[in-house]
């Protein structure tokens, strides 16, 4: 008998009382949101910004038209010499026409340029699949064009987030985006830059991942403050 068979056999041999009913998670969250004031776009944006700031993430409100220019200004201000981006991606063309210097496409398998990625890349720009207002969280789904490490290895992570894709809770996001229909090889929730409190419970940013997280929040003209 294999270890697998032995383990399963022991589990199956255990006494079982009345089987519990399946937990009704949707009903739980429905009750929670019913007890809150109705969710509005403006409230979601404000809450997201507040929570993201709490995690030490910067949020810059931008529009479809001006985000590449804004990004260029931020890159200049932060002294970013090289910016990693994914190609092809929805925003690659806009990015290229903005005249940002040091643009670098993640266009090869990691093994071919690991050292340069780790040691010679200042920032990475990724899209996001949405955000979660309650916790100030980005939903990042890496793929072939925007690989996993873009949001991890460079010291600064820029993330484009469409305010239309802000959800109240993680559960809402999962349901609305139908995650259970199929998950990518890697999906991430990101709430702020990497951090640790392992030395004397003192918080320090930039533990192993990005030291800074800048969210470019795409909003309508009138929502830009």
């Amino acid at each position: 008998m294999s270890a697998r068979d032995n383990i399963l056999q022991r589990l199956r041999a255990a006494p079982q009382g009345k089987a519990p009913l399946a937990p009704d998670v949707p009903a739980f969250y429905a009750a929670v949101s019913a007890a809150r004031p109705p969710s509005t776009r403006a409230a979601r944006i404000d809450l997201f910004c507040e929570k993201m700031a709490f995690w030490h993430g910067e949020v810059v409100r931008v529009t479809d038209a001006n985000w590449p220019q804004k990004l260029r200004e931020i890159c200049t201000a932060k002294g970013v010499r090289s910016l990693l981006y994914g190609e092809p991606s929805a925003h690659a063309e806009a990015l290229k026409s903005a005249g940002i210097s040091g643009l670098k496409a993640y266009d090869r398998p990691l093994g071919e340029w690991k050292k340069a990625l780790f040691e010679d890349t200042d920032a990475g720009l990724t899209s996001t699949r949405g955000g979660i207002a309650e916790t100030g969280t980005l939903i990042v789904w890496p793929d072939a064009n925007e690989p996993r490490l873009m949001s991890l290895v460079p010291p600064i992570h820029f993330a484009l987030l469409d305010a239309d894709q802000l959800h109240d809770t993680l559960f809402d996001a999962m349901q609305a985006q139908r995650w259970s229909d199929g998950m990518p090889t890697n999906a991430l929730l990101v709430s702020g830059p990497s951090k640790t409190a392992d030395i004397q419970v003192t918080l320090a940013y930039g533990a192993h991942g990005p030291k800074e997280l800048v969210v470019l929040l795409l909003v309508n003209e009138e929502e830009v403050q």
């Binding site: 270890a3 697998r4 383990i7 399963l8 022991r10 589990l11 255990a14 006494p15 089987a19 519990p20 009913l21 399946a22 937990p23 998670v25 949707p26 739980f28 969250y29 929670v32 995690w55 993640y106 398998p109 990691l110 690991k114 050292k115 780790f118 969280t137 890496p142 072939a144 690989p147 996993r148 490490l149 991890l152 809770t169 993680l170 995650w179 259970s180 998950m183 990518p184 090889t185 890697n186 999906a187 991430l188 929730l189 990101v190 709430s191 702020g192 830059p193 990497s194 951090k195 640790t196 392992d198 030395i199 004397q200 419970v201 003192t202 320090a204 930039g206 533990a207 192993h208 991942g209």
Partner: protein, 479 residues
């Protein structure tokens, strides 16, 4: 790094180590301060007690439901992961788990394995097995890196280096990290660790991680972390090996948010961690990073023993938040190392007997005042105090009729204790004897010994009153 086997201190010497720890003023201050901090951070996350109880009810329900269907869910998880391209392994005990992982590492002729935080890998003593095979197993969580560098074990499951001051860490880095200057700046210390470990992430062929939740319906492994080292370990090396206990599986993705929300709030008082890493397979053709090969090792190591008993099964509801130890008056005073087991504190006292047997661990369930704090804060409502009492009982008696004996059943049986109890029972159930005993004890109270074993180590001796309660009450009725 230290590749020497760490000193594993058997739990049987618990009392000695606990006395040592209690006498260490600096250690007590470290733990008291850190635990107070974590307690207040957690409390701030749950301002509404009714809402908290609702969340706990749901989380408990999800865990009980998952455990009731455990064998099916494990099979479903295995099927899904296999479809996703992940190789699933099963290990009945620590040796098997280590052999599987060493075997994978050897097939890739790796010299270095980077590790994200995994308590199960500590539990099976994986680092020893890797060292014995000539492979460096490097911890990359900052706290774990620090304790490994100093040849120690974690003292807390969430904050492994909580027992160390920044001055001690500064000295450790200056002594052990080549080129590191002495600095007490926490940012600079973290910077040193970051630089050293980034080199290692780049060069390691194998990365190891734990698992917080394994989702059966999609074949997804979820990892909770703040630092990003878990993402490094599971993304940069060509091979990713995840190791987990068989109890971590849930049926659906929708079961994750309630558990995840309670886990981070209970553990460190955070509404969410920086990263929640959901991994469902190795990189697909065309993807440019991520491991090319992925494994999951499902470990039993005594869990099926707990599962075999309907009361003890609730031990497996645990999501490893550490709130029970943060709130434990015993843990706060003696720290994590005194327990001598991978999992310290109340959860360690109820899970270790299944992993190591009652022979080695029967003293642990007695390291509790049964104040109930652990059970009150447990996000999945494990009745920890009841389980402690049950395990004390199992350690002192034969198995209950109709129950299979636990490993080490009856290990703490003592003829003396049994005799004292039967003597007491004989006395207590016979009024005449009991009156006579009371009369003797009160009249000859001057003969009470001044040294009364463990009691008088830090307390004044016990002495019977001048008259029994019976006599005093009779006296009172007269007037």
């Amino acid at each position: 790094m230290n590749t020497q086997p760490l000193d594993f201190v058997p739990a049987s010497e618990f009392k000695q180590r606990a006395s040592g720890a209690v006498a260490d003023a600096h250690l007590r201050k470290s733990f008291r301060g850190a635990m107070d901090f974590l307690i207040s951070k957690r409390a701030a996350q749950f301002p509404d007690p009714v809402a908290l109880e609702n969340q706990r009810s749901l989380a408990e329900h999800i865990r009980k439901y998952s455990l009731a269907r455990l064998p099916e869910l494990l099979e479903q998880l295995e099927r899904k992961l296999t479809d996703n391209g992940v190789k699933v392994h099963w290990a009945e005990n620590a040796e098997e788990a280590c052999a599987i992982i060493v075997g994978i590492a050897q097939r890739h002729s790796t010299k270095l394995m980077v590790k994200g935080k995994s308590m199960v890998s500590e539990e099976v003593e994986l680092n020893h097995a890797m060292a014995a095979a000539g492979i460096d197993a490097l911890e990359s969580d900052m706290g774990e890196y620090i304790v490994q560098l100093d040849g120690e074990k974690p003292s807390h499951i969430i904050m492994p280096a909580i027992h160390k001051t920044k001055q001690q860490i500064a000295r450790l880095f200056a002594d052990k990290v080549p080129g590191a200057a002495y600095t007490e700046s926490v940012d600079e210390l973290i910077g040193i660790g970051r630089a050293v470990l980034r080199e290692k992430f780049m060069s390691a062929e194998v990365g190891l991680s734990g698992v917080n939740f394994a989702v059966a319906e999609t074949g997804t492994l979820c990892l909770v972390e703040n630092e990003g080292n878990g993402r490094m370990c599971t993304t940069v090396p060509e091979v990713h090996i995840a190791i987990t206990g068989i109890e971590k599986v849930v049926e659906k993705l929708e079961h994750v948010p309630p558990l995840f929300g309670l886990l981070t709030r209970s553990a460190t008082g955070q509404a969410i961690t920086t990263y929640f890493n959901m991994i469902s397979g190795p990189r697909k053709p065309g993807e440019k990073d991520g491991p090319g090969e992925m494994h999951l090792v499902l470990v039993d190591n005594g869990r099926t023993q707990a599962y075999g008993d309907e009361q003890l099964r609730s031990t497996l509801q645990c999501i490893r938040c550490g709130a029970c130890m943060n709130h434990c008056p015993v843990y706060t005073r003696i720290g994590g190392h005194a327990y001598g087991t991978t999992y310290p504190g109340p959860i360690g006292e109820i899970i270790s007997p299944h992993m190591l047997g009652l022979n080695a661990t029967h003293v642990l369930p007695t390291a509790s005042s049964l104040c109930g704090a652990c059970g009150e804060v447990c996000p999945v409502r494990i009745p920890i105090p009841e389980l402690l009492v049950r395990l004390r009982e199992e350690a002192q008696h034969d198995a209950r009729p109709g129950h299979a004996p636990l490993r080490g059943q009856g290990a703490a049986k003592s003829r003396l204790v049994d005799a004292v109890w039967s003597g007491w029972a004989a006395l207590y159930t016979r009024p005449a004897f009991y009156r006579a005993f009371g009369w003797l004890a009160t009249r000859f109270r001057a003969l009470t010994p001044p040294m009364q074993g463990g009691w008088t180590v830090s307390r004044t001796p016990m002495k019977p009153a001048a008259r029994t309660l019976h006599e005093l009450m009779a006296e009172r009725k007269k007037h």
